[in-house]
C-alpha cells in the first residue's frame, strides 16, 4: 500500500522530460485516496489516460478542465459507475478498483442533485440509512443532525419541488453525507445555480467540508470556483493530468501553456531564441529573472495582463517599451488596454490596469510606457 502511494505521487505530464512531483504539501501526509495509472476507453477514444494522483485525508481536491477533458469520467470511475480499463484506485488502503458502487465508501452530489422527487427532504436523507438497515431511532437522530448541518430544520417535510435551487443543493449535500462516508464526490455541484447563490454556497460547502473533515473531490469547469475552494487542483486536458498543485501554484507557476491559459487570460509572445536570461520574442528582446534552460516545444513568453505595468512606473524599468494604445475596454474596476509596442506594431499585448491607479484616462492612439516585470514573466510551451 505504501509503495503505491509513493509511486503515484509523480504525475505524468506531456512535454516535460523530468516529471516534477505533483504533490508538494500532501506528500508527507498519509494518503487517503490513491489513484495510479487509471485508464478508461470508450471505443477508440481514451477518455482517461494513465492518470495518477494522491489525495490526503480531509483534503479538498478539485479536478478542473474544459468539457470533454475526462474529469467527469474520472469521478465516475472513482464512484464505480464506470469500469476502469487499467490502473488502480485505493481508498483507505483498500483496492476498490473493481468493487461495485454499493460496496464503496463515498457519498456523491450530482449536477442535477438527483433528489428523489416522491420523498420529502427527511425521506431523502433517510433513504441510505434505510438501505443499510439502520433502526428508526438512529435514522431520526441522523436526519435531524444532517438537517442542522445544512440549516434546513424548517424544511424537513417539504418535497424537492417546493425548495429553491440552493436548498435542493444543500439537501443533496446532506444526503451524500448521510452514511458518514470517508469520501465526498461532487460533480459540478454548483453549476446549476445563479451566480450570487453560487458564490455563497461555495464558501458554505468549503466550511462544511472542513467542519465534517471528510475528504472531498470536486469536478468543475469553473476556474474561480476551483481556485477559491480547493486545497489542491488537478488540471486535466484530453484525458491526461496537465498539472497538480495548490491554487497559487497552478495560477502563478503553471507548468504548461494550457494550464496558464485555461486558468486565466495570458499574454503570449512566440519565442524565437533564448540565451541564458535573454529571450528574443515577437521581434523584441526581453530579460528573464532566471536563466532559461532548454526551451519547451512551441515556446512562448507569457505574462498575465494584470502583471503588465503601464505608465510612469514602467519608465526605465527592465523589459520596458514604448507602445501605442490600440484599444481601451472598461471592465469596471479594471481598465483593459490593448498595446502595440513601437518596435513591432504587429504584436499586441493586453494590460489590465486598476482604474483608481490611473492619473489620466488613456485613449485610443495615446503613446504610453509599459513594462513586463521579469519576475512575472514565464516561458511556457506545449499545445494549447
Amino acid at each position: 500500500m505504501r509503495d503505491t502511494a509513493q509511486d503515484g505521487v509523480a504525475a505524468k505530464r506531456p512535454g516535460s522530460a523530468a516529471a516534477t512531483p505533483g504533490l508538494t504539501e500532501g506528500a508527507s501526509a498519509p494518503s487517503y485516496l490513491s489513484v495510479a495509472g487509471l485508464t478508461k476507453r470508450f471505443g477508440a477514444a481514451t477518455v482517461v489516460a494513465d492518470v495518477a494522483f494522491e489525495v490526503a485525508a480531509s483534503e479538498f481536491l478539485c479536478v478542473l478542465g474544459p468539457s470533454g477533458c475526462g474529469k467527469t469520467t474520472l469521478l465516475r470511475l472513482i464512484a464505480g459507475f464506470e469500469r476502469a480499463d487499467g490502473g488502480s484506485i485505493r481508498q483507505a488502503g483498500i483496492d476498490i478498483t473493481h468493487l461495485p458502487p454499493e460496496a464503496r465508501d463515498y457519498g456523491i452530489v450530482f449536477q442535477s442533485y438527483a433528489l428523489f422527487p416522491n420523498r420529502t427532504v427527511g425521506g431523502n436523507l433517510a433513504f441510505g440509512l434505510e438501505a443499510v438497515g439502520a433502526p428508526r431511532a438512529t435514522r431520526e437522530a441522523k436526519v435531524a443532525e444532517l438537517l442542522t448541518l445544512v440549516g434546513l430544520q424548517a424544511h424537513a417535510h417539504k418535497y424537492p419541488n417546493q425548495l429553491s435551487g440552493g436548498q435542493q443543493q444543500r439537501v443533496a449535500l446532506a444526503r451524500a453525507l448521510a452514511l458518514s462516508p470517508g469520501l465526498l464526490l461532487l460533480d459540478e455541484p454548483l453549476s446549476a445555480l445563479d451566480a450570487n447563490v453560487r458564490a455563497h454556497l461555495r464558501d458554505e460547502l468549503r466550511a462544511l467540508q472542513k467542519r465534517v473533515g471528510v475528504t472531498a473531490m470536486m469536478v468543475t469547469h469553473d476556474q474561480v470556483e476551483a481556485l477559491s475552494i480547493a486545497d489542491r487542483i488537478i488540471v486535466m486536458n484530453g484525458g491526461r493530468i496537465e498539472q497538480i498543485g495548490t491554487p497559487s501554484e497552478v495560477y502563478e507557476r503553471p507548468d504548461t501553456l494550457f494550464v496558464a491559459k485555461f486558468l486565466a487570460d495570458m499574454n503570449t509572445l512566440p519565442i524565437a531564441r533564448a540565451d541564458g536570461t535573454v529571450v528574443e520574442a515577437a521581434g523584441l528582446t526581453w530579460v528573464l529573472e532566471r536563466p532559461q534552460g532548454q526551451l519547451p516545444a512551441n515556446p512562448q513568453l507569457c505574462i498575465r495582463p494584470a502583471a503588465v505595468l503601464v505608465g510612469e512606473a514602467a519608465r526605465g524599468a527592465p523589459n520596458g517599451f514604448a507602445a501605442r494604445v490600440a484599444h481601451v475596454d472598461f471592465l469596471g474596476d479594471l481598465v483593459r488596454l490593448t498595446l502595440q509596442p513601437d518596435a513591432n506594431a504587429r504584436t499586441t499585448l493586453v494590460a489590465d490596469v486598476l482604474r483608481a491607479s490611473l492619473s489620466i484616462r488613456p485613449r485610443t492612439g495615446d503613446m504610453v510606457h509599459a513594462c513586463l516585470p521579469p519576475r512575472h514573466v514565464l516561458v511556457l510551451g506545449g499545445d494549447v
Binding site: P101, Y106, G128, Y159, P160, R175
Partner: protein
C-alpha cells in the same frame, strides 16, 4: 443476482412464447403442406391460382389506401384545430373525436347501416350506390381509424417549437409561409406515422367488412373463411403472411419516422401558444363540427337503432334488444366472459409491463437481455390480431408443445390479448420511468440501495398514474377486440365482441348494435374509473406539483 439475469431472462422467455414463437409457427405453416412436408412456395401458388382469393389482396390494398388518404385529409385539420387554434370547446371536440376508441369497430358500421343501408334514412345521399361493399368499408373505416390519426398528428403538432415561429416571423414570413416552412415539415413524421398506423389497422380489421363488406372480399374475411369454413390452415397461413407484410413495412417506416422525429425535436422546445385569428379559427371550427357531427351521427344512429323496436317499420323506442340479450344465457355469459377476460388482461398486462418497462427504462439487468426484451416488446405492434391469433392456434394446438393444455382456455385468450396490445403499454411504462433522471438511480446506488428497493420506493410511486392509464388501455382494447380472439374462443369462452359478430351473421342487427353499445358503455365506465383513479392518485402524491 436475480435482477441481473433471472428476471430479465424470464421476461424474455415469456415474451418470446407469447409473440415470436406463435408467429414463427404461422410462418412455417405457410411453407409446409398438410402432410408436414416442406412445400416451398406451393401454398402461395395455390392461393394465387384461386381467383376469388387473390382479388381480396387487391381489394384490401386499395380500400386501405383510399381510407388512409381520406383519414389524413380529415385528421390533419382536426388535430391542427385541437392543438394550434383558439377553437372554442376544444375539450368537448377532443372527447367526441376519441369516442370511437372506446367502441368495437363494428359499432360505427351499424350506424352506417341505419343511415345508408338498404332501409337507411339517408340512402339517397349515396346517389344510387350501395352501402354494402367498398363504400361501406371505406366510410366505416374512416370513422374507426380517425381517432388514431388525430392522436398521432396531435402529438406531432403539440411538439412544435414556438421559437421556430418567432424566428420565422422575425424573418418576415407570413402565416401561409410559416405553415409550409415550419408547421408542415415539423409534423411530416407524424403524418407518415399516422398514415402507416391507419393503413395497417384498416388492412387488418375484421369487424367492419363483416358487417358492411357485402360481397366484396378482403383478406381479413378470407383468413376467417379459410380457417373456420374450409379448415384450410395452409392457405390461412398464406393469408396471414400477406396480412403481416404491409404491417411489417409500415412498422419499419414508422420506426424510421420516429427516429428522424427524435432528432428533429430538441429537448427544450417552447410550446406553441396560438394567437387569435378569426378566419383560421372559424374555418377549423367548421371542419371540426362537420367531423365531430359525422361521428356523433353515426354512433348516435347505431345507439338509436339498438333502441328501436323494429327497424324501419316500428320506430317506437324501448330496451327490448337489451333485455333480450341479457335474458339469453349465452349472450349474458359472453358479457361476463368479456369482463373477466378484459379485467384479467388489465391486471396481468399491467403487472407484466411494469416489470419489462422497469427493466428497460432503468437499465436493470444484463444489457443484452434488456435489449432483447425491448426488441421483443416492439414485435406485437407490427403483428395484426388475426395473424397473432392464428399463430396461437398453430403454436398451442401442437400436442408436442408443453403449453398445449392452454388450448381453448380463457387464460390463452388473456395471454393473446396481452401480447397483442403489449407494445403501447410497454412504451408508456418506459416513458413514465424515463421522466426520472438517470442520476437518481446512481444516487440510490451510492446510498447502498439495491435495484429492487429503489424500484419499490422511488420508481413505482413515480410510475403509478401511468400504470392506471396502462390498465385502462389494456381493459378497453381487450374489451373491444375481435380479431385477436376470433380463432381462439370456444362456446364457453366466447366474449361479447365476438358475440356481436355472431349476431350479425344471424342477421340480428338490432341486438348486435345493442351489444356493441353495451361494450362501449363498459369501456366508457372503465375510462371514467381510470380518470377518477388518476385524480385520486395525484391527490395522494403532493410531490407532483410544479417546480416553484
Amino acid at each position: 443476482m436475480p435482477t441481473e439475469y433471472g428476471l430479465p431472462g424470464t421476461m424474455v422467455v415469456v415474451l418470446a412464447v407469447a409473440t415470436i414463437l406463435p408467429i414463427g409457427a404461422l410462418l412455417s405453416r405457410a411453407f409446409y403442406d398438410r402432410a408436414g412436408n416442406f412445400a416451398g412456395a406451393a401454398n402461395f401458388v395455390r392461393y394465387a391460382s384461386e381467383p376469388g382469393l387473390s382479388i381480396a389482396a387487391w381489394n384490401s390494398t386499395y380500400l386501405s389506401a383510399i381510407t388512409t388518404a381520406i383519414v389524413l385529409a380529415l385528421a390533419y385539420p382536426v388535430a391542427y384545430a385541437l392543438t394550434r387554434s383558439r377553437m372554442p370547446l376544444k375539450g368537448l371536440f377532443r372527447l367526441l373525436m376519441l369516442l370511437p376508441l372506446l367502441a368495437p369497430s363494428l359499432l360505427p358500421a351499424f350506424g352506417l347501416v341505419y343511415l345508408f343501408g338498404n332501409q337507411g334514412w339517408l340512402k339517397s345521399w349515396l346517389l344510387g350506390a350501395r352501402l354494402y361493399g367498398e363504400v361501406g368499408i371505406v366510410l366505416a373505416s374512416v370513422i374507426y381509424a380517425l381517432p388514431h390519426a388525430v392522436l398521432i398528428l396531435g402529438g406531432g403538432l403539440a411538439a412544435g417549437d414556438a421559437r421556430l415561429y418567432e424566428a420565422a416571423r422575425a424573418l418576415k414570413a407570413g402565416p401561409w409561409r410559416r405553415f409550409w416552412t415550419v408547421t408542415l415539415p415539423g409534423s411530416r413524421y407524424a403524418v407518415v406515422s399516422a398514415a402507416s398506423v391507419v393503413f395497417v389497422s384498416v388492412f387488418t380489421d375484421f369487424g367492419i367488412p363483416s358487417v358492411v363488406g357485402g360481397s366484396v372480399n378482403v383478406l381479413s374475411l378470407d383468413i376467417y373463411k379459410l380457417v373456420i369454413g374450409r379448415f384450410d390452415f395452409e392457405l390461412g397461413a398464406v393469408v396471414g403472411v400477406l396480412l403481416l407484410l404491409p404491417a411489417l413495412v409500415a412498422y419499419g417506416v414508422d420506426v424510421l419516422a420516429r427516429r428522424f422525429q427524435r432528432g428533429a425535436i430538441s429537448g427544450k422546445s417552447t410550446p406553441v401558444v396560438p394567437a387569435p385569428s378569426l378566419l383560421r379559427d372559424t374555418a377549423l371550427t367548421v371542419v371540426a363540427i362537420v367531423v365531430a357531427g359525422a361521428i356523433v351521427a353515426v354512433f348516435g344512429m347505431a345507439i338509436f337503432g339498438s333502441l328501436v323496436r323494429f327497424w324501419p317499420y316500428n320506430l317506437a323506442l324501448g330496451l327490448q334488444n337489451y333485455t333480450r340479450l341479457l335474458e339469453d344465457a349465452d349472450e349474458a355469459r359472453a358479457l361476463i366472459n368479456s369482463l373477466t377476460m378484459a379485467g384479467s388482461t388489465a391486471l396481468a398486462g399491467t403487472a407484466l409491463v411494469t416489470i419489462t418497462g422497469w427493466l428497460v427504462a432503468r437499465r436493470v439487468g444484463h444489457g443484452g437481455l434488456t435489449q432483447a426484451l425491448q426488441a421483443l416488446a416492439m414485435v406485437p405492434v407490427a403483428v395484426p390480431g388475426l395473424v397473432l391469433g392464428l399463430g396461437y392456434v398453430f403454436f398451442f394446438n401442437e400436442p408436442a408443445n408443453p403449453l398445449h393444455g392452454l388450448q381453448g382456455t380463457m387464460a390463452l385468450m388473456v395471454i393473446c390479448s396481452m401480447a397483442h396490445f403489449f407494445t403501447v403499454p410497454h412504451l408508456m411504462a418506459v416513458g413514465g420511468l424515463l421522466q426520472l433522471d438517470r442520476e437518481i438511480d446512481l444516487a440510490a446506488k451510492a446510498l447502498r440501495a439495491g435495484p429492487v428497493a429503489t424500484g419499490r420506493k422511488i420508481h413505482l410511486p413515480v410510475l403509478l398514474p401511468t400504470l392506471i392509464d396502462i390498465a385502462g388501455y389494456f381493459f378497453v382494447n381487450a374489451m373491444t377486440t375481435v380479431s385477436a380472439l376470433i380463432f381462439l374462443f370456444t362456446a364457453h369462452t366466447r366474449v361479447a365482441a365476438i358475440a356481436v359478430v355472431n349476431l350479425v351473421e344471424g342477421s340480428r342487427i338490432g341486438q348486435a348494435a345493442a351489444f356493441a353499445t353495451v361494450i362501449m358503455l363498459v369501456s366508457i365506465a372503465a375510462a371514467l374509473i381510470q380518470t377518477a383513479l388518476r385524480t385520486f392518485v395525484h391527490r395522494t402524491q403532493p410531490w407532483r406539483g410544479r417546480t416553484p
